[in-house]
Symmetry: C2
Subunit: 425 residues, 2 copies
């Protein structure tokens, strides 16, 4: 690869169709176990293959020249690589693009050892990409906050007074974050029927929330906030997030301390982390912010990303998911840099591998709403699926499938999917 | 030790005064680094000594006979030991009481190697006892919830409708949990003056919250709740917790998703985990619960603990802390077993080393309130300290010191302290 090659002209010796999620321009990172029983290790996806980064590193092909960096991939998580920071990330990315490019013979025509660094992606088992120390969930889509506020407090009081001044967020549960493909058991919970005492039973209002999340890179020391103009260097990359929500449990429990068991039964993420470097061509302006944020939240950089998002529901009677929502990550009012700057501003430390999710990403039109709560407007308007079935919320046996991609000129930077099937309580 | 010895008659060859926190009846666990630069390792406190559990284990004195348990202390955290469950905990505790008893010569008159398993406690550096995967904070004192509710919503609406039906809780931040003795930097934050737009600056209403927290032992698989009658087997032990709170930040940010940056700048815990086994003689009935909890929260066992608690403030002009609050852990309306049963009831998985705190432990009288918010009744009644100084909230340079102990017949089961000094923003 020559650095003067326009990104859209990069080609790999591994054949990747134009509409594939994982061309050489992407190279997202994940943790995989190869088919046939290999142990979990870091990899980068390209087409229907996975490059085994542990093997490549141990063969000496990823040395960046600096001491102490040569073993970041000898691990069952990406935390060590994340902690390395942007210089290490860029160096590895550039080296991988070089090794995988069409005109590079190292792997393409290399020894058996080197050819063995390529694994079949579809038969590999994907695991969580990081040990997630803390998980934070924001609430950064104005459309979503307005929709929910309108349903519960009326149009006049839809947005709370603080909402336009800071990225509202709360701590989520890290232990129950699961990788795409994991079944999600319908939660039990305590709920309160309108005219009788609380009861205990399976949730009846199970929902998804379409979100994206970013993984923290280097992080910061306790007591040392990350200034807004430094923040992007601390963000490793993005995944799709389904913040499963039990609306009936949530409604009864959440005042005054926020969501708890209505969320903590499961959160599904996509397995491949797409780096900010791969997404750089798709950085764009987000919505205008009025009132102007305080200086600690103000940056001159465009920090939204143009990422198409969709959610499908696949019932037990369907072979392909029926798309119920089309949205875009650029709709977010508060961007990822504002979120992380705000989060650390009080001195709170973020650590490599921490996950911070966006909150439900709803757009301006009804078909762009990112949850069944909004799509069915609190259950009053059933959503009709492609085979004629209707849904107000998610039923047992339904799979929820989220996809996302940034569209380039002749290639796309895709996220794969975050999928999960609901099993009975 | 003979099992027929009454617990109050146990004596060690290590001299421990009657009012000391760490007699042979206690033996709390922590992670320490010996003076002079040893690396962190598990220990048990007795008097002014620490028993080096890694050394004792490697010398073969803690083998429990079962495979795979012999190296739980070869670690810089107690997570492995916590995961072992009650049988392992009881076996190690019994063995330690045996080895440390007055009439046992093994360590007392043992070789130099064995005598070296005892370290000086006061010169050792204490570290966090576990890698805390997730931190949850409950809100389980009726008096605290009533006080805060009265201040913000009036006496008639003090308790929210859900409060008497379930142990309200929320996810806290695990990364910023620090060990006693760590300075706490006053947080910056966004706050909202009454008649002007939000501003960004140091918190002006910094507070403590007197809490206790329990560490989870074995935990549970995702999707498999822990039934109420099994829960106590999953609780390893208790520590003191200061849930530092910035009231002005909290007030502006917390609706609708709960506390976030008003809490996440620091949470201080005491270094020695006192086991449920050591606390067993102090188990007692908690407050009556009316309405009766749902069956999943109902147990016939008494699950409160009679633990005296106090909070002192030491200003820069004082040598000893001035006690401003005397409370008791038995005041908690929702007990630790109800908390963990509720937490996992939706299928959420708890992992070894997870920390779950009680919420502020306020008692029935004004001097038993567990926060400055309540003690100074929202800043309207300054608290007078022993040297005549007054405080409404915590000022820079102040140290907050929490202590706790269960009083036995001629001995006490103490917690040491959770202390932290506030440094300027």
């Amino acid at each position: 690869m020559e650095s003067s090659t326009p990104i859209e002209n990069l080609r790999s010796f591994i054949d990747v169709p134009e509409d594939h999620d994982f061309p050489i321009q992407n190279l997202p990172y994940g943790i995989f176990a190869p088919a046939g029983g290999g142990d979990p290790r870091p990899g980068a996806a390209i087409g229907d293959h996975i490059v085994d980064l542990r093997a490549l590193e141990s063969e000496g092909f990823l040395a960046t020249g600096a001491a102490g960096q040569s073993r970041v991939f000898d691990s069952d998580s990406l935390n060590g690589f994340m902690a390395g920071g942007p210089r290490v990330w860029k160096s590895v990315r550039m080296r991988l693009q070089q090794l995988l490019s069409a005109d590079n013979a190292t792997i393409r025509d290399g020894s058996e050892v080197l050819q063995n660094v390529l694994h079949d992606r579809k038969s590999a088992r994907m695991l969580l990409p990081a040990r997630i120390g803390d998980y934070t969930d924001f609430y950064s889509s104005r459309e979503h906050a307005t929709n929910v506020g309108t349903m519960f407090r009326g149009k006049e009081n839809a947005l709370m007074p603080n909402w336009l001044h800071l990225p509202v967020g709360y701590h989520g549960r890290a232990s129950s974050i699961v990788i795409s493909g994991t079944d999600v058991r319908r939660p039990w919970g305590q709920t309160k029927p309108d005219d009788s005492p609380p009861v205990h039973g399976p949730s009846r209002l199970l929902d998804f929330e379409l979100e994206m999340g970013f993984f923290v890179g280097e992080g910061n020391e306790l007591g040392s906030p990350i200034p807004i103009d430094e923040v992007s260097k601390h963000i490793f990359g993005l995944v799709l997030v389904n913040d499963w929500s039990a609306r009936d449990i949530q409604k009864w429990e959440y005042v005054p301390l926020g969501p708890f068991l209505g969320k903590s039964f499961a959160t599904t993420i996509s397995p491949w982390i797409v780096t900010l470097d791969a997404l750089e061509p798709f950085r764009c302006e987000g919505p205008g912010q009025d009132p102007a944020p305080l200086p600690y939240l103000t940056s001159s950089e465009a920090r939204a990303y143009d990422i198409h998002l969709e959610v499908g529901i696949r019932t037990e009677d369907m072979s392909d998911a029926s798309v119920v929502c089309r949205s875009n990550f650029r709709y977010m009012y508060w961007n990822i840099c504002q979120q992380l700057a705000h989060h650390t501003m009080n001195g709170c430390n973020a650590r490599p591998g921490d996950l911070m999710a966006s909150g439900t990403i709803s757009g301006p039109t009804p078909r762009s709403y990112g949850s069944m709560l909004e799509l069915s407007w609190r259950g009053t308007k059933p959503v009709v699926l492609s085979n004629g079935e209707e849904r107000k919320f998610i039923l047992d046996g339904d799979s929820v499938v989220m996809r996302g991609w940034a569209q380039g000129d002749g290639y796309r930077i895709g996220f794969g999917e975050a999928a999960g099937r609901v099993t009975p309580a």
